[in-house]
């Protein structure tokens, strides 16, 4: 293999470049990135960066020296618009055509939005540094009333940050119980009570039907139950869609992400996928789903690099999926995978104080652990979790 093209210049793409060099690959590496920025860290965009505690420079994932050592050729500020595996060619938005022996699909995901949001000033989504800068500028413009649509993790973090900036915040969630899919009913309710603990209003079980506006700027959010919530700034945090449009017609199998085997191999030889865009069967959860977590993008990179270089699907480590979220100065950590019916059991601390560790059990086996502000016990228990396959066995 003489040239590898990495499409997507973020955590998964850069981590794969690092892994390729660690594995001894000595050929050319070209990284194509739609954003004009070199790889940066996204989690702080809703946390410290949005609050203003850290600058954009502090988000950089790598340094000039490292990139020199890695010998990467960057093609930033342009997107890949097509892939022709037979010709081993990638077409870019500036008309350039790249030829590569191996391709790493690391295009991540883009924020979803809601109907009626397009073209109105004051309505934001949050995925990129540019998004975060625009949102921050709007939050600092006077004392805007903030409405967050979607009480998922990104929405909850933005609500928390806006609250800490001294703003009046309302969170609107279509589901009756926020985060129920990730945490189950009981813990979803508990995590979302962090909003109400801090005087942030939370409206659940009602969807958004549209927006009111004046002079091209949002003034309010219409709810399905007929109410209108006044708003000067709106953050739409309703999840993401994998960035696979550019693969249309390429023959790469796409179905809610790039469909891969456990080793990140796609159906097309010498094409692997990694990070938020990749849908791999997970050795720990047994599920074939995309995992939109930072740690997963880091971990998959090694697997994808080994698969690409060896030509046979490399086995991934069987670690429980992990993510963290910082809200209202509380650190939430979850490892493992929660199914409806898995009951959380309090192991330490108490729910009222928002400092606890709980373990979810399936057939008596620990399959997930959730903690608020108890990192030490959390990390001990994380190592005791049992993979779903084993937990399901009679």
């Amino acid at each position: 293999m003489k040239t590898i093209a990495v499409i997507g210049a973020s955590l998964a793409g850069l981590s794969t470049v690092r892994a390729l060099r660690t594995e001894g690959y000595d050929g050319d590496i070209v990284v194509v990135g739609e954003e004009r920025h070199q790889p940066y860290d996204r989690p702080p965009l809703s946390k410290d960066f949005l609050k203003g505690d850290i600058s954009a420079d502090a988000l950089a994932l790598g340094s000039a020296e490292e990139y020199e050592e890695l010998r990467v050729r960057w093609l930033l500020g342009r997107r890949a618009v097509g892939l022709d595996p037979a010709a081993r060619a990638i077409t870019l938005s500036d008309g350039q055509e790249l030829h590569a022996d191996g391709v790493v699909i690391a295009t991540g995901a883009g924020a979803r939005t809601v109907p009626g949001a397009d073209g109105l000033a004051g309505i934001h989504t949050l995925r990129s540094l540019d998004d975060a800068e625009a949102l921050r500028a709007d939050l600092l413009n006077g004392l805007p009333r903030v409405v967050v649509i979607g009480a998922g993790f990104v929405g909850a973090e933005v609500a928390s940050t806006a609250h800490r900036l001294g703003l009046q915040v309302t969170v609107i969630e279509a589901l009756d119980v926020p985060l129920e899919r990730a945490l189950g009913r009981e813990m979803g309710l508990l995590c979302s009570s962090l909003h109400t603990d801090h005087g942030v209003r939370l409206q659940c079980g009602t969807g958004v039907t549209g927006f009111s506006s004046g002079n091209g700027r949002v003034t309010g959010v219409h709810l399905a139950d007929g109410r209108l919530v006044p708003a000067d700034v709106v953050l739409v945090g309703v999840g993401v869609r994998p960035a696979t449009d550019w693969l249309a017609g390429s023959g790469v199998h796409v179905d809610d992400g790039v469909v891969c085997d456990t080793g990140c191999a796609t159906n097309v030889p010498q094409v692997v996928a990694v990070g938020d865009v990749a849908r791999c069967p997970h050795p720990f959860t047994g599920r074939h789903a995309r995992i939109e977590h930072w740690t997963s993008a880091m971990e998959q990179a090694g697997t994808a690099a080994r698969t690409l270089l060896s030509g046979t699907s490399a086995p991934p480590p069987s670690r429980p999926p992990y993510f963290w979220s910082d809200q209202y100065r509380i650190r939430i950590q979850l490892a493992g995978h929660v199914l409806p019916g898995d009951r959380p059991e309090l192991l330490d601390g108490d729910y009222e104080s928002r400092s606890f560790t709980a373990v979810y059990r399936r057939e008596g086996h620990p399959v997930a652990v959730l903690a608020m502000d108890q990192p030490k016990l959390f990390n001990r228990l994380r190592r005791t979790l049992v993979p779903a396959v084993a937990a399901a066995a009679p």
Binding site: R18, D48, W294, M298, W324, R331, P375, K376, N379, R380
Partner: protein, 106 residues
């Protein structure tokens, strides 16, 4: 120099965070009988290494799993890149003594 605790209060496998009398929080570890002291705050982002996972003379950060060598303070894997400072620590007459001077520049 600070007298931190009695050695019984820091048994093998345990860690402790010291915040009083030090310029910045320090984490102490008893790695199978040898006591080490390093900066408590991870050089990657905001996590306390005293809450980390101790394995031999390495500690894994509780937030994103960077690992630090307690002997040198150097990270052994990403996402951390910069080392933490190490501090001399001794055990005398059953007391754990941390050799930092108050007001030492950070």
């Amino acid at each position: 120099m600070i007298t931190v605790c009695r050695i019984e209060d820091l048994p093998p496998g345990e860690s402790m965070r010291v915040t009083d009398g030090v310029p910045a929080p320090i984490a102490l570890f008893n790695a199978d009988g040898a006591v080490y002291a390093i900066d408590d705050t991870c050089t990657h982002q905001d996590a306390s290494l005293a809450d980390g996972w101790l394995e031999g003379c390495f500690v894994e950060c509780p937030l994103h799993a960077a690992s630090f060598d307690l002997r040198t303070g150097r990270p052994t894997c990403l996402p951390a890149k910069a080392p933490v400072r190490t501090y001399p620590v001794t055990v005398e007459d059953g007391h754990v003594l941390l050799h930092v001077s108050v007001g030492e520049p950070v």
